[in-house]
């Protein structure tokens, strides 16, 4: 080890690192989406007119890659609607008019767990999915085919995306939940070692975790300080930085003997085993130059963005772009009517100035895209080969290794959307391999 993958310096914009998380009041209405994880969407378990309570399961499915969805509020189901989601497909929303009493469902009970199978089952019941943004159902990650080969738990507290400070606040405010979650996973999965990877720009979080580790006399969990560079929190980069193992695209961490979860995912899991409350709210960083008071807020899942922004003092200037997730990999949404999901780690509202898509100019062959790429790929070659539909060339230069971290687009002085071209090129290769 000691070796680092190439990375770039990205402006941090971490304005909210030191601000304690606030709890926003329950909004008048929430719209809970039934597609909140990678894999199968849930089917609604409630009907129009039903009264639902906090923590009540309102969506589930029998599909393997899935996680149940719970009501974040108490109130009446006003409607169940189909809308076009930001990914282009149709999504089902359960619209709940809240009564603001926040009555807790009878279903909420501390899970009784004695063995590994019960643990995985309880993890599924918690509704927890990868909260870092990928929203992969956590219980599946905890249930690898080669469990006996898995020895290390790596927890991702890098939070390398600019603006977002939710994981940082999680480690500061709920450090104990992080460690509880880790110890549970390590106990039931029989892992020897736990590593929390945290970027060095979070000294308070690092100090707090170290203090708790000392206080609890934990010997098999350590904090590993990472460089504050992008993208240290990318799964494949983090596995390399913490365990020294090379992880190629298409390989799961478990195949390398590593269980990898986001720090907030682990903490929410820890909290669930303490309280029995499934994931019904999450900490969201609200920031961007169009927001009056940037801060971290606990937001019930399904809250409309406009309500969250209102709680943060409203818009300072006319918003022109709203991003759910980080500015490097997050998704721009067309409307602030969109609702928060389990994986919404941040809401960023940009003014015209920041939202403007810069005009693309000619490639000057500076090779900064290649130098920035953690895997030393050559985005300028991909762009050229994609334009000419050269599938073999794309494969030769290993386009499928691209994880779309956005570093190439970020550094490109000609403002070329290279990361996007990579995505298109990957699509082309996938299409060609089907034939």
């Amino acid at each position: 080890m000691g070796k680092h993958l190439p990375s770039i310096h990205v402006k941090h914009y971490k304005h909210t690192s030191d601000i304690e998380t606030e709890v926003m009041p329950i909004p008048d209405v929430v719209k809970i989406c039934m597609s909140q994880n990678i894999g199968a969407p849930c089917k609604p378990l409630v009907a129009k007119g039903d009264y639902v309570k906090v923590g009540q399961k309102i969506g589930d499915t029998d599909a393997f890659v899935s996680a149940p969805i719970h009501s974040s509020v108490s109130g009446t189901v006003k409607d169940i609607v189909e809308v076009r989601g930001s990914m282009g497909g149709m999504e089902t929303l359960i619209v709940i008019e809240t009564d603001k009493k926040q009555e807790v469902s009878e279903e909420v009970a501390i899970p009784k767990v004695e063995n590994y199978e019960q643990f995985v089952k309880a993890a599924r019941a918690s509704g927890v999915v990868g909260l870092g943004g990928a929203s992969f159902p956590t219980h599946i990650k905890l249930n690898p085919k080669n469990l006996d080969e898995c020895k290390v738990l790596v927890v991702n507290g890098a939070e390398c995306e600019p603006f977002i400070t939710g994981d940082n606040r999680m480690m500061i405010e709920q450090g104990q939940d992080v460690l509880d979650g880790m110890q549970l996973i390590m106990h039931y999965l029989n892992l020897d070692e736990g590593i929390i990877g945290v970027e060095e720009n979070k000294p308070e979080a690092i100090a707090n975790l170290n203090r708790l580790i000392d206080q609890n006399g934990i010997s098999n969990i350590k904090v590993q300080v990472l460089q504050s560079r992008y993208p240290k929190g990318a799964e494949r980069v983090l596995v390399y930085e913490t365990t020294g193992q090379v992880m190629n695209a298409g390989v799961l961490p478990a195949q390398l003997g590593v269980i990898l979860d986001n720090v907030s995912t682990v903490a929410v899991l820890g909290q669930y085993f303490r309280t029995g409350m499934p994931i019904v709210r999450r900490r969201i960083t609200v920031d961007g130059d169009a927001v009056m008071n940037p801060k971290n807020v606990f937001v019930p899942i399904g809250t409309q963005i406009a309500d969250v922004i209102d709680y943060c003092g409203g818009y300072k200037v006319e918003p022109r772009k709203i991003i759910m997730g980080g500015p490097m990999m997050g998704r721009a949404t067309h409307s602030d009517e969109s609702t928060t999901m389990k994986n919404t780690g941040s809401i960023l509202a940009f003014s015209q100035e920041m939202a403007e898509v810069k005009e693309e100019t000619g490639c000057i062959n500076c090779c900064r895209c290649h130098e920035a790429c953690p895997f030393k790929l050559m985005p300028m070659i991909f762009a050229e080969a994609y334009e000419r539909r050269q599938v073999d060339r794309l494969n030769d230069f290993r386009v499928m290794q691209c994880m779309e971290c956005g570093s190439c687009s970020y550094v490109c002085p000609a403002r070329r959307p290279l990361s996007f071209t990579n995505k298109l090129a990957k699509g082309l290769v996938k299409e060609a391999s089907k034939k």
Partner: protein, 324 residues
């Protein structure tokens, strides 16, 4: 609650949603800044004639790019400052005494023919400034090889004289000292004389991460090494060769042109070595006293081949898969 107004017309674009501040304009601006020490040295050594030619070079190059874009109804690109860099480089590459219209003609060749006709910034396959210099050199042999003496060395009846490399070619024994050459009190093109000033600019560019040190180091190192061998270990003559002529200017400012040089570090190394090698071939055995511009031009043409060669090993070694 249904009457609530939402913002429904937001910009939707693909990630990433932020980009670095460094754009092409900033890079070219940094290059211009890095050329300032050499410009000041040129003006100090050769007087206001150098300044006039620098200004004419920049204005004419920018004008021709502007005019081309106007005529062809292309998006205006002069704001990226690359034309300004080319114009200043043309001026750097000529004696401060050549007729001003020759500079304007060189700008036309560089911008109109070499750059814009091939598709504008990023599309030219040879360095515009180098090509324009060679065009002038071949077309106007006399004005391009009449070298003004530095102001401090001029006498009432001698205002021009051979460059150090010219002296060397004539087998003269009166070569200037290496210190004079390092500081730039010698004859030559207006921007190439002061190795010190060019070194300051070059190191600035490396520090600002605008250029990679590979090409300049390989270029200068090769020149040094070949001279050292040729002169049987004469350190003095090896230094003479790296301070003389266009080696410093070429190595830091022209052989590092992104567009016309290889992409991978190994390719850059081969490119730099090739430049140094051809330069010394011409200097020691060719009929011209100086070979920097020809060496860069030839290596520009070799660049696609070098890329092909280095891509082969890049593909084989596996990059990401190797975990280095």
């Amino acid at each position: 609650m249904e009457t609530r107004k939402f913002h429904n017309n937001l910009i939707v674009s693909t990630a990433p949603h932020i980009v670095s501040d460094d754009d092409t304009t900033k890079i070219m601006g940094t290059v211009l800044l890095a050329m300032m020490p050499a410009l000041v040295a040129g003006i100090y050594v050769f007087g206001t004639g150098a300044l006039v030619r620098a200004i004419v070079g920049v204005i004419s190059a920018v004008f021709f790019e502007w005019a081309y874009n106007m005529i062809t109804h292309k998006r205006q690109t002069i704001g990226d400052l690359s034309a300004a860099v080319t114009g200043l480089l043309i001026a750097f590459n000529v004696p401060s005494t050549i007729p001003v219209w020759e500079i304007i003609l060189a700008s036309f060749v560089a911008i109109f023919i070499v750059k814009q006709l091939y598709g504008g910034i990023g599309k030219n396959f040879v360095n515009p400034a180098i090509t324009a210099r060679i065009f002038l050199f071949i077309s106007f042999a006399s004005s391009m090889s009449t070298w003004p003496l530095p102001r401090m060395n001029q006498t009432a009846d001698a205002v021009t004289g051979p460059t150090p490399l010219g002296l060397l070619a004539e087998k003269s024994t009166e070569l200037p000292s290496n210190m004079e050459m390092f500081l730039g009190f010698i004859g030559g093109s207006m921007g190439e004389v002061s190795a010190l000033a060019l070194l300051i600019g070059g190191i600035f560019l490396i520090w600002r991460k605008v250029i990679s040190p590979i090409i300049p180091c390989a270029f200068i190192g090769t020149v040094f090494l070949i001279a050292l061998i040729y002169y049987k270990g004469s350190f003095n003559m090896a230094l003479f060769h790296i301070f003389a002529g266009g080696v410093m200017l070429g190595a830091f400012f022209m052989a590092t042109d992104y567009v016309t040089t290889p992409k991978l570090p190994m390719g850059k190394l081969l490119f730099g070595i090739g430049c140094g090698f051809i330069t010394m071939l011409i200097r020691l055995w060719g009929s011209y006293p100086e070979g920097v511009s020809f060496s860069i031009l030839l290596m520009n043409i070799m660049t696609p081949l070098i890329n092909r060669l280095t891509f082969k090993s890049y593909i084989k070694e596996g990059g990401a898969n190797s975990g280095k």
